[in-house]
Structure formats: C-alpha cells, structure tokens
C-alpha cells in the first residue's frame, strides 16, 4: 500500500501527511463516541429491585470479609486513616446502611448481616468513647474551639444515630434503644439551638451532608419509639429552604458557618447524599434538589457519566471531599461517587448506567474469587457504591411506617 506503483512517483509528502491526519481524525471521531459501549454493564448486574444484584453481592462479600477478618480490616483502615480519618468513619456508616437494606431484602441472611452491623456499631461506639470525637475528625478540628459547647460533632452524632436507627429498623435490639434515644435527644437539642437549626461538624463549620443525615436519623427514630419530632423537622426544613439555599442554583449550600453564612456553595460531594437523606423526611423537596443537581452537576461525556463538584455559577477549591477536580470538565471523583446514591435513590436509570460505565472505564475493577473492589478507590468509596446499589428497602420501610402513623 505504501509502495508506489512501478514507474509512478510516491505521493508528495504533504499529501501523505494530510491523509494521515484526516485518517486519525476520522478514526477518533468514530472510536471516542463508541468507547462507552465497551464498558457499559447490564444494569441488572449491579442493581435489581427487591434483590441484591450479582456485582453488589461481590462488593458486599469483600466488605464482609474485611469485617470478619481483623487483620485485613486493620490494613485497609490504616490506608484510609493515613489520608483522612473521616473515611474510616463514613466507610462504617455506609456499610451499615448497605447491610440494613440487604437484611430487609434477604431475611434469611439477616442474622449474619446484623452480627456485622453490631460489630461495627460496638467498635465505633467504643472508639468514640475511648478516643473522643477527634478520633474520627480531621486534624483541623483541634485548631479552634467549637462554638456550641461542650464540643460535639454533628458529623459523628448524626451518623452514629443513623447507624443505630437503621439497625433498629431491621430488627430492634433492646441494647441499642437507650443509645439511639440519647443520641437523638442530643441532636435535637443542639440543632434546635443553632441560629439556622444546624449543628457544627467542625468548629464554626456546619455541613448540609451531616445535618440531613441527622434529621433523617431523628425521623427514623420517631418511627421506632413513637416519639414525635415532626414540628422540629418541619421547622428545620423551613429554615433550610429559606436560609440555606443558593439563590442562583436553587441547591442547598454544602457548608456554612454556625450562624448560616455560606462557606462553600452547592457541592457534588454533598448534595447527592443530602437529597438521598431528605427523601425520607420531605420527598418533594428531595426530588426537587435531585432534579436541580442532575441539571447542574450531572454530566455525560461520550456516554460516560460523571458529576461536577461545582455548578457552573460557583468557583470553589478542591478539598478532601471532592478530590482533585479535573479542569474544564469539573469532574470530581468524590462527587461522582456520591452521584451513584442520588441516581439510585431517584431511580434515574439512564444516569446510573452512565455512571456505571465510567466506573468500569476508569475505576479499575478487580475481581478476586467472589469479591469485587475498585482499585482506584478505597473502602469508603466501595461502601458508598454498595449502599447506592442496594438502597431502597430501608427508605421504603420508613415510608410505610410514616404512612401508618
């Protein structure tokens, strides 16, 4: 093909170069929009209604093995804590929530799952009691005092309350009744006295993520013990809608000072989970937040889905939650991980499928026997994904409980 015909001079160099460039351009135009088909998994492999899908089961198998093998767990937790102590804590929360959902879906396996939930809860409560709240917080928590004294973090209290509430929704254990009640009382007390009804996660730093988790936990606790914090929750929702929504995007701020001054605008690494938690207390507001987040943060590049960290109208810095934000695209690994939870909660199958394609494309799945993990991530990332893939039964049970009241 390159050899010219006998007696015919070879094509001029510039023509060869132009043909080559055109060929490369055409090939790229064909290949790049098609790449996602190579990585597009069948949705039912990852998520099934009222059942644990095969890939979700493999993800769960790896987490169960970690919690049933102390040596493996210690190594994994040490890797995460070296970077961020919060990940250790959040990995526990998301895995407990995943197991609670799986217990409802698979009652025959519930005893095994509940044993692991209890092990996680007991160890977390022991660590909190022995090492204090700072054990699960990043170092900057010690740099200045909390405004609301004595120092407590809504991040810690909210997620512990949520773990306890989820555990009790599956199968109540009298041992955890006073613990949940006490934690909820504490949250209600501290959120109520905040100027914008929110508690600090870090000194003078309130996070919408943590406060929505706390409010959802309070609601679930009411379903369990029959108390009524609905007036508190309605007041919290009214305050959030009036004072904590970015007027440009309509999305909830991700972080703000104790008196409600915004620190960060709406963030992908916060809003998806906030919308997920709000669904249990105010489904319409949650759906509105998801819709806005999907419009302004949810992206699709050549069939590969991802989430931006910031909407176009807000410029913010990269942080430990977002991870490095890819310039021009605004892509954040942290936000994209949380987007799975949003897409699964609001049954946005198209977006979920696009996100799963991206996961196969760029997160480096590793399957070892019956276990699945994503090499580019870590235990907390896999736990969020697992929770997204199995979530639903717990929230449905809460909705049914609310309807009965």
């Amino acid at each position: 093909m390159q050899t010219p015909a006998p007696g015919r001079p070879p094509p001029p160099l510039h023509r060869r170069f132009l043909i080559s460039a055109l060929s490369l351009l055409l090939a790229a135009a064909i290949w790049l929009p098609s790449v996602h088909w190579l990585f597009r998994p069948a949705l039912q492999d990852y998520r099934q209604p009222r059942a644990v899908a095969p890939r979700a089961r493999e993800l769960a198998a790896r987490h169960l093995a970690l919690w049933e093998d102390p040596a493996r767990r210690a190594a994994e937790i040490a890797r995460m804590r070296a970077k961020n102590a919060e990940w250790d804590f959040m990995g526990r929360t998301f895995f407990v929530l995943a197991l609670a959902n799986m217990s409802i879906d698979e009652p025959q396996q519930a005893s095994r799952y509940l044993a692991v939930i209890d092990a996680i809860l007991d160890e977390t409560l022991r660590l909190e009691s022995e090492r204090g709240i700072y054990f699960f917080l990043m170092d900057y928590a010690r740099r200045r005092p909390f405004i609301d004294q004595p120092p407590r973090s809504t991040f810690i209290d909210g997620e512990i309350a949520m773990m306890l509430a989820a555990r009790q929704m599956v199968r109540p254990d009298p041992r955890y009744v006073p613990m949940l009640r006490q934690r909820v009382d504490l949250l209600v007390q501290r959120l109520s006295r905040g100027p914008v009804m929110c508690g600090e996660s870090y000194p003078d730093e309130c996070w919408m993520f943590c406060n929505t988790v706390a409010v959802a936990a309070i609601h679930i606790s009411d379903l369990l013990d029959g108390r009524d914090h609905s007036a508190f929750i309605q007041k919290w929702l009214a305050t959030a809608k009036s004072k904590l929504v970015d007027p440009t995007t309509g999305l909830l701020f991700s972080s703000f000072t104790y008196d409600g001054h915004p620190l960060d605008g709406p963030e992908g690494s916060s809003i998806w989970t906030a919308a997920h938690c709000l669904k249990v207390v105010d489904p319409d507001f949650a759906a509105q937040q998801y819709r806005l987040a999907r419009q302004q943060l949810g992206c699709n590049l050549l069939g590969l889905g991802y989430s931006r960290e910031w909407p176009a109208s807000w410029k913010g810095p990269d942080d430990i939650d977002s991870g490095p934000v890819i310039p021009l695209l605004g892509l954040s690994a942290g936000a994209t991980g949380q987007a799975f939870l949003g897409a699964a909660t609001f049954e946005d199958d198209d977006y979920l499928q696009q996100l799963l394609s991206s996961l196969q494309f760029g997160a480096f799945p590793i399957r070892d026997r019956d276990e699945l993990r994503f090499a580019a991530g870590n235990q907390v990332g896999d736990a969020v994904l697992l929770y997204a893939l199995v979530q639903g039964p717990l929230w449905e049970k809460c909705a049914a409980g609310k309807a009965r009241q």
Binding site: I19, L26, L32, I366
Partner: protein, 119 residues
C-alpha cells in the same frame, strides 16, 4: 509547504505518523505495555487516584499507579484509534489513487480527442 517543513516531515519521528504499519505497531506496543504492567500487578497501585496509598514506599506506588493509568488509557483510547486510522488511511489512499488515475486518463483523452486514452 516550506522546504523546512518538508525536511522535518522526512525525519523518522514524523514518518511514523504517515505509515499505517507504524500505527499498528504503536497500537500493539501500547497493549503489550499495558499487559506487562497488569502482569506486574500495578493495577492495584491506581489507588493513588483516591489518595489511598500504603504508608511505606509511597512514591514508588504512586509512580507505578500513574504508569498503569497512562498505559490503560493509551491502550483503551489510542490503540483502537491507530488501528482504525490505518484502515481509513489505506481506504483514502486507494480512493485518491483511483481519482488521480481517472483524472490523468481524462486529461490524456482530452488531448488526443479520445475518451479512452488507451485507444
């Protein structure tokens, strides 16, 4: 095209871009490199993306992870483009040759007054 650019295009580094077999060779090379890194177990080291690396030997782990990531995206994105492009180039070249031959036949025909220059 200037003489300077012509001379640059004649250099071997540039020539690879005008040779389909060179492209196929590059594509295969990229896949082989990825396979090698995979066999060495460097896929595990891509955890640098989430900032979770082992406490010891961190720099080596990050380097291996970065090389694996680069090899992965090269093999997935660039190799197929090179292989497709070599086929497209062959097709374009063939079409161009046909076109030029037809044009030269027509020009000879116009000069001799015959529609077929071979007559």
């Amino acid at each position: 095209m200037t003489a300077h650019l012509q001379s640059r295009l004649r250099r071997p580094a540039w020539r690879i871009f005008t040779r389909p077999l060179g492209w196929v060779g590059c594509a295969v090379g990229l896949v082989v490199i990825l396979g090698l890194f995979h066999l060495l177990g460097w896929r595990d080291d891509t955890s640098f993306i989430s900032g979770t690396t082992p406490a010891s030997n961190t720099n080596a782990t990050i380097l291996r992870g970065m090389l694996y990531t680069l090899a992965w995206f090269s093999a997935i994105l660039i190799s197929p483009i090179l292989i497709l492009a070599s086929g497209i180039r062959w097709l374009l070249h063939w079409l161009l040759q046909k076109l030029l031959r037809a044009r030269s036949f027509r020009q000879v025909g116009l000069k001799t007054g015959h529609s077929n220059p071979l007559v």
